[in-house]
Amino acid sequence: MSFLGLRKWPTPVAKPLWPFIAAGTITYFLVAKAQDMGVKSEAYAKDPRNPYAAQIAKESHH
């Protein structure tokens, strides 16, 4: 295999990086929760740029 004409070396990538990938997954879920809370907050729920504004308006009426 080559990339721009350079050969590929058998450097281990998953073995030393798995803790960081695990931390990244946890961070992803936490940021998704933070985003959900922020998107539904009073400051941003009625913002016209908010792509979830219609959903939030429906949920708040029910």
Partner: protein, 51 residues
């Protein structure tokens, strides 16, 4: 400031993580080993010359 608006957080994070992973993979598989290879060759040349 767009980076602080909540509905862009996951988008920012996804792009950053994917870019970082791609860069780390390409650099560690294709570019960094060339430096090690160069050092090893230099060591061989030095040792063979000393004998």
């Amino acid at each position: 400031m767009p980076q602080l608006i909540p509905f862009y957080f996951i988008n920012q994070l996804s792009f950053s993580f994917l870019t970082l992973l791609a860069l780390i993979y390409i650099i560690s598989k294709y570019f960094l080993p060339l430096f090690t290879f160069q050092q090893v060759i230099r060591m061989y040349i030095t040792k063979l010359n000393n004998k």
